[in-house]
């Protein structure tokens, strides 16, 4: 068996990670959205939120929040769409979100605020996201990652990337004017600009299949740790809540600004391991695309929004800094595991399986050395 055999189809429910996700999963799976949800669910949520000393790394709460957002995205087909607006689930989501947002605001250092001027905001965002020397997941993948580690990296990335761009699309109807035009210009490129096979999520699905993995969304959810779910949940929270419009714009800017250079390293790593263009296309595409997107995001999206809505400048910077913090923490967790010779994944049904070669790696060429 391989990692691919661990994965389930679209109907497979993830495993619980504690009392909150246990109750939530049984509610979503067996409950009836037309009848009141057991009060135990909300009670367990409040207890867990109060007890959490590090909510970003809390497996139970981050999985629960991820599932609650899945109710809105429709990303997990087994969840009945009737749950999307269920008052008890929205209360539960709000309780986790407030605590998560508070933690991010408390723990994220924010640079000095720029003036509400597009050029100043863009300069502040570029300064905040400037490349730093030293060890990084990109450098590790480029130089050292084994085949197993490269496949783990793809699994970790799949939580966002098989739904790439979706969290930021929540912002489109909440923006107007120049900022809206800029966001749609970026998202159009993300969604293939009229060509379904060019959708970034679809290009990534080909990467997954090219390394012998299942590209069904959520297939590896059980293997992905809280910090990676937290990275996804932060952008879902910023995107889906209108009051956080500044934060989702800052988040998009920071993620575009920290993409081109690492993606070149990821592409180099997969080429080093002998993979061909069907696997590396995703990373190569992002070197080029995100060098465009970062300019649009900095000047036309974040800069314009800050000029038009000076009250949002603090949240634009917060969203950008929070993106760096949560994504950095997720990436560090993966890299530290790799450096220590451990799997970066949560223990699955049988983690010994992860040492096995991929099921099918058609594009893999002869590896030198």
């Amino acid at each position: 068996m391989t990692i691919a055999d661990i994965a389930g189809g679209p109907g497979v429910r993830p495993a619980e990670r504690g009392p909150v996700s246990s109750l939530l999963l049984s509610t979503l799976d067996h409950g009836d959205p037309a009848v009141p949800v057991p009060t135990a669910l909300l009670h367990a949520t409040h207890v867990a939120v109060a007890a959490a000393d590090d909510i970003t790394a809390d497996e139970d709460l981050q999985l629960s929040l991820f599932l609650l957002y899945a109710c809105a995205y429709g990303s997990l087909a087994w969840i009945d769409p009737e749950w999307e607006w269920h008052p008890a689930l929205l209360q539960m989501r709000t309780a986790i979100e407030r605590s998560f947002e508070d933690a991010l605001r408390r723990e994220t250092p924010i640079p000095a605020l720029p003036r509400a001027d597009a050029a100043d905001i863009a300069a502040a965002l570029f300064a905040l996201t400037a490349p730093t020397p030293g060890p990084s997941l990109g450098r590790y993948v480029a130089k050292h990652a084994s085949l197993e580690q490269a496949r783990e990296f793809v699994i970790q990335r799949s939580i966002y990337t098989l739904r790439e761009a979706d969290p930021h699309s929540w912002a489109i109807p909440r923006l107007t004017g120049r900022a809206k035009v800029a966001l749609v210009e970026i998202q159009s490129d993300e969604y293939g600009a009229g060509r379904p096979e060019r959708m970034h999520a679809e290009i990534f699905a080909r990467t997954m299949r090219g390394v012998g993995l299942d590209s069904t969304y959520g297939a590896y959810l059980d293997l992905v740790p809280a910090t990676v779910l937290a990275s996804q949940n932060a952008m879902s929270m910023f995107g889906i809540n209108r009051r956080l419009i500044g934060a989702i714009v800052g988040h998009l800017a920071a993620s575009e600004m920290t993409s081109s250079l690492p993606n070149r390293m990821y592409a180099d790593g997969f080429r080093r391991l002998g993979f061909g263009p069907d696997v590396t296309e995703y990373f190569d595409e992002h070197v080029e695309a995100d060098a465009v997107h970062e300019q649009i995001a900095a000047h036309d999206l974040a800069g314009s929004l800050g000029e038009d809505r000076p009250d949002l400048v603090p949240d634009i910077l917060f969203g950008a800094a929070a993106c760096l913090a949560v994504d950095g923490r997720a990436a560090d967790g993966i890299r530290f595991a790799f450096e220590a010779g451990r799997s970066s994944l949560r223990p699955g049904p049988d983690t010994g399986l992860l040492r096995m070669p991929p099921r099918k790696v058609a594009s893999r060429r002869a590896v030198h050395g």
């Binding site: 600009a193 080029e288 300019q295 000047h299």
Partner: protein, 74 residues
């Protein structure tokens, strides 16, 4: 479908030239380069590994377009 849109070039501070609109970009050999997307970024710092496109390397070399880098407000 604004392929007929007049070309527009935006010079980005410390970064590339953003090109929008109906433009053909010709390579060294005189052939039209594959245009990867509707808006493209052309390298201005000279250090890109995928020229003529920008790959973000200007940030690594601290490329500056400021006339007088120490001057702030105009």
């Amino acid at each position: 479908m604004d392929e007929r849109r007049a070309p527009q070039i935006t010079a980005c501070a410390d970064g590339p030239l953003l090109v929008r609109g109906a433009v053909e970009i010709i390579g060294d050999d005189g052939a039209v380069l594959r245009n990867p997307r509707r808006t493209v970024a052309l390298c201005r710092c000279g250090a890109s590994a995928i020229k003529p496109w920008c790959d973000g390397t200007h940030k690594l070399i601290r490329f500056s377009t400021a006339e007088h880098p120490s001057v702030g407000d105009d």
